[in-house]
Subunit: 139 residues, 2 copies
Amino acid sequence: MVSDTQNSTLTQKLADSGLRATSQREIVYQVLLDQRDHPSVDEVFSRAKALMPTISLATVYNCLDALVGCGLVKQVNFERDASRYCPNLQDHAHFHDDATGRIVDIDLPAEVLAKLRNLLPPGYEPGSIELNFRGRAAP
Amino acid sequence: MVSDTQNSTLTQKLADSGLRATSQREIVYQVLLDQRDHPSVDEVFSRAKALMPTISLATVYNCLDALVGCGLVKQVNFERDASRYCPNLQDHAHFHDDATGRIVDIDLPAEVLAKLRNLLPPGYEPGSIELNFRGRAAP
DNA sequence: CTATATGCAAATAGTTTGCCTGTTA
DNA sequence: TAACAGGCAAACTATTTGCATATAG
């Protein structure tokens, strides 16, 4: 369930980006918060349909774009795989377990983030940094 | 031009992965070495066609896969954009300049790479690490 | 009330596949 | 001369678009 606090954050954040709060966007956000397993668009779609049978796939794409656009959700891309979505707003990296396909959040301390920024030549301003690991996760 | 040394490296590396040296693979590799601007498949295709008019798009995909598979080339993915290819074998990150679309290699010192590895919980074995920046490059 | 969002279906982009022929080791 | 690779066209998947209707602010 989305709490009132989450809901007002959602409405607020959408409004900050000039976007409207719609029931579809609320549901898509709720789906991401409910099960933090980095679902693909199709997975979000089927979970959202369980809550609102009339929602369409195109709308799920639109809602996810809106949530990414207003900064509440991050889009996770591993190679050419379908995009996955993550409502974790803390700085973090992702680890893709090749054995299971699962994606795990990896904490990214500010100190390490600063080191990464320092790799850039002067004048380079990174708007976003994406750090992705692939391999075997602990059993 | 691909030097003899590069050519034997190519043949060698392909053989190491159980793959054959073909003129198409040589040309695709040469295209990547000639202009290190992280071309997309379509760009590689049109440059390769200039050298071998009969080469097909599917073959360019196959050749790039083979070169990535034998470790001579890296595949670079930014968000959902088409894959780009890079013959730089040193450890490095990529910076995507949002203004121009250009991708620049960023050196990734072993010391920083080690720090990134250390972010992982015990038992996590990263086969690959991808670090991508997006933003404004220096003018 | 009016701009914005939804739903549906069709379109697109990138990539993969199947099948038959050509080439490499 | 096998096994592997290339060429071509069709298939597929993820995502986007156009347009008519519905809804938020």
